[in-house]
Subunit: 327 residues, 4 copies
């Protein structure tokens, strides 16, 4: 019979997202509640390779649930994707007697965990921490709700100016592979057009629609563009519109990194807390090498080796709503 896990490590990996601290807190306190020792590993897999590992108490995670970023820091670590790097990482875990890991990050981080877990006898549990919501196997990721609210608040501010000047604004939001931030923030702010990676951008249709709106004197227009949209993002689009409609006053705003930070929303804190709690439960119940999602409001477990970027068709309903509501 396998012996019970009594020492676990927790780390955040890849791009930071709001709610990661809430997830760490839940892992630490649930672990301690069950009599475990919990170790924080700094800067993602880099801290495993460098041995930057330290014991966490219940109080270590006091007063962090409301903070953006991650107090364990994060990074991408090339070394961990080499055999030697993983060997060193394993040796460092063993030094502390760590027998299980919780990794908070995206699909890339999960793949790293899977490789590591195949080579060494360290079960890994993944928690989806990414603002992009682009992981199959969960309806929500930790950070998406906050990021999209940040985008919405920023676009609301821009609309004040757009209205005051009757100007066209092109606003670029994050989302290299997924258009969720663009779609949600665009619908929420009444954007006239939303360009996303999941759908080929027809720039001709866009220009035609802008010209039609100009004819009926609809003056304020906002276009929300995901950075991964295929025409080339906000700057390219602006150049093209300028060429086709030279008299059109237009401005570009690239929201950028403000979307990653900030105090997490209630939603992100709650799902991070639930997921962190269940990560430790998984280690206790030997439900190993899965990442935890929420599907239809229930916990959902996907094997780490099935972790992939979500390639999802955006439903026709949503696209119709965009079209109808922004008229």
């Amino acid at each position: 019979m396998k012996k019970k896990i009594t020492k676990i490590g927790v780390l955040t990996s890849g791009g930071d997202s709001p709610g990661m601290n809430a997830a760490i807190r839940a892992v630490v306190r649930t672990g301690i509640y069950h009599g475990m020792e919990v170790y924080g590993i700094n800067r993602g897999y880099s801290g495993m390779v460098d041995g930057d590992i330290h014991r966490l108490e219940g109080r270590s995670v006091a007063n962090i649930i409301q903070r953006g970023g991650t107090f364990l820091k994060t990074s991408r670590c090339a070394e961990f994707f080499t055999k030697e790097g993983r060997k060193t990482a394993y040796d460092n875990l063993k030094k502390h007697g760590i027998e299980g890991l919780v990794i908070i990050g995206g699909d890339g981080s999960f793949r790293g965990a899977q490789i590591f877990s195949n080579e060494y006898d360290i079960p890994c549990i993944g928690l989806p921490g990414t603002i992009d919501k682009d992981i199959a196997g969960t309806d929500f990721t930790i950070g998406f709700d906050t990021a999209v609210n940040t985008a919405v608040e920023a676009i609301d501010k821009i609309r004040d100016t757009a209205d005051a000047h009757d100007r066209l604004f092109i606003i670029e939001v994050m989302g290299r592979d997924a258009g969720y931030i663009a779609l949600h923030s665009g619908i929420s702010t009444g954007a006239e057009h939303i360009l996303i990676p999941e759908k080929k951008t027809s720039v001709e249709d866009l220009i035609a629609s802008l010209k039609e709106k100009e004819r009926r004197k609809k003056l304020v227009n906002m276009i929300v563009v995901a950075e991964g949209e295929d025409f080339g993002g906000a700057d390219e689009l602006a150049k093209h519109i300028k060429k086709e409609m030279p008299h059109q006053e237009l401005r570009v705003c690239i929201l950028g990194h403000i979307q990653r930070g900030g105090s997490p929303s209630c939603f992100d804190r709650v799902i991070a807390s639930r997921m962190g709690y269940h990560a430790v439960e998984c280690l206790m119940e030997e439900r190993f090498n899965v990442f935890i999602g929420i599907v239809n409001n229930k916990m959902h477990y996907t094997p780490l080796d099935e972790a992939v970027k979500k390639k999802q068709r955006i439903s026709e309903e949503w696209l119709k709503i965009v079209k109808i509501l922004a008229t």
Copy 2:
């Protein structure tokens, strides 16, 4: 064969909630898109009884998606719950040729709609607009997410002071029949105790736990209390604690009406937009006298005469998370 509905009315009823404007906007624009005339009815059923009804255009709802409250205003209307009141209301609708209604409000408003629809040939569609999330038949209601984020931001501020002074705070949030706001905002802010209507308050256990925390010098404590909690709310609780622990420094905050207002969150704007769109679709497809919910991320339709307050057991998982994470 029934003839197609071409004129519809929309109103907000009962307590206001953030996102109602986004829902109205979606109803108006979807109606117009399908060639309908759309009428706004002011102050809920009162406007129907008084004939305070006016035509809305697409532009009437420009630039309101981000506003709290409801630009159609709302009220509770005793007259509509009399036979004469409903007769007058019906006559006023007929004057404008209105053949269908969309009602945005809570379970009480839905029951009014059901009675009206039984008496007169006006199909009604309900949209759940309430911050309390206490309606069976939907996972979300328009306004809950915003309200709970407002509560969380307020409690975060209070924690700054609680920390600075090592004080106990009792914070009362809204929720006469449902503890959802208390539960979500309490988990999100690391409250030590959460008292809700769904669970009998054991004030002895609470005092015992506070005394135990005092012994181990855990100084900062926050207790989040739903207004409908059975011991008597924040003020009663404070009196009791003062009696049992006379040396304990403690403060009471009643968050009150700030929880109803404010610019709606992205989440509330999106679900309000989707629900508003589907309300018109229901009228077109003759799916009459239902209210629209979202269950497992899909549209869900509940007959209006089944609209009741949700009496839900809070799951054991949630209560365990509260207990473990706030240690």
Copy 3:
């Protein structure tokens, strides 16, 4: 010749206010820049009496400029107002070799510092940290701007609901002796009436004005009341109005402790930084036993023994603006 001060202590005392952390940070880093050792004293004068004193480095105050509350914690300390208490406090300072003090707090804390400094050879510099802005000798206090913005955001939310329901709201803000929060937040939110301690409340005039507004169907009204207003605060006022105008729908909101916390505004961070910097300069230039204010945008120094609550007549201009703009 007096020898140069090389070790200083810093503490926060009395009620906490947003920006205190920014002030501490400025004291610590300016002290270190000038080659001093800087000590943090926890929980105000209590930490001096208990010897709860620890060395601070430049990094100790990293990443706190944006935090509400005070990481040194604060308290009111009765013991320090006894001769024995101050003796113990002095002995504890001497143990660490502390030769000068910076006290961030209100007029009560300054008086304590003055007494202490008269008895022992420890020069004290005061920084005005209070949300109430009720100290003579400075145009601004650390925390006022943040508190008043918090009040404004809360009242804006309440207005959404007031508008939606055509209701009268009575909103109580902080200010036991001073009406600045009420005055600024009331003007900023378009409150119809503002009741402050500096001006006798004529409840008859208030009722007359409400009745007059009722006659011309001005339905939405907000009354902002400072807690120290002489009629008895929001609850008393509500009772009185209910008696005189029984049909009037009205609600009371007491904003309470949310006004103390939260991330400080830019304004508060900047003045806290400037004041903290000058506190150390004062100790270096032997400008002893003063508190630092900003008057006409310049640093202003008031002897600690002249620190008193500001009893100021609110200018006629302001009262006229309230009256005219809220019509």
Copy 4:
């Protein structure tokens, strides 16, 4: 004897800034209080030239004090800077009997007003509405405080990510001719370096300082750059640093138009209300062709023909504070 002014117009001109609506509201209500008729002129001087002028009532400006942008809209108007344009504008004013104007805008708008007033017998009063605070003759401009708070909130979010990744961020804020937004937001967020138009950028010093910080492992750095800084803004700077320190991870954020919009801060609402009130007083007291500022907390009147961009030396005190506090 000159006859009393009884009809006035109000407009917003140039770039929009938060608080303009509060200023319009104050002008309208103070005018009406004094028995005047008040006319709103849309889109700045363009509306004067086009005759886009309409009567405003007290209720026209209800519920706008909290809104960003300007409900009268704004623009830059080339035509008004021609003799013919101004003639048409004058004729349009005369049609409505307008005898005095209040212009809310920047120094360019004031110069337009001066020219107009020299040619035609229409006294003009200016109110400084600009986020840049770059007008001589006033300590504050309407919109600056809000803009700088927006910048601070955005930079706080970016710091979460900067901390999580130990990255260098270069953040560009608005300010073509003035560094006030950069200076205030930089001090408030603990930026290591602040580059402003008022001071020549020494890129060599900057690189030297970054290298020195790297040596002592200070990993997180933020540089705040005003868009008008002379080295070429954030993008140029990033290129240069990349060349000199190729291994340095760095990101650029250009905050852009979010700084113009949003609900005005309490401070901006209060000064806008005071200034708007005094604008009408000026017209009544025949204090013509001035713009209104606040200097040392008192109203200050500057002749319109002396309106110039402020060319101010940033005080040594401030630069020293930046240097010391960010260590």
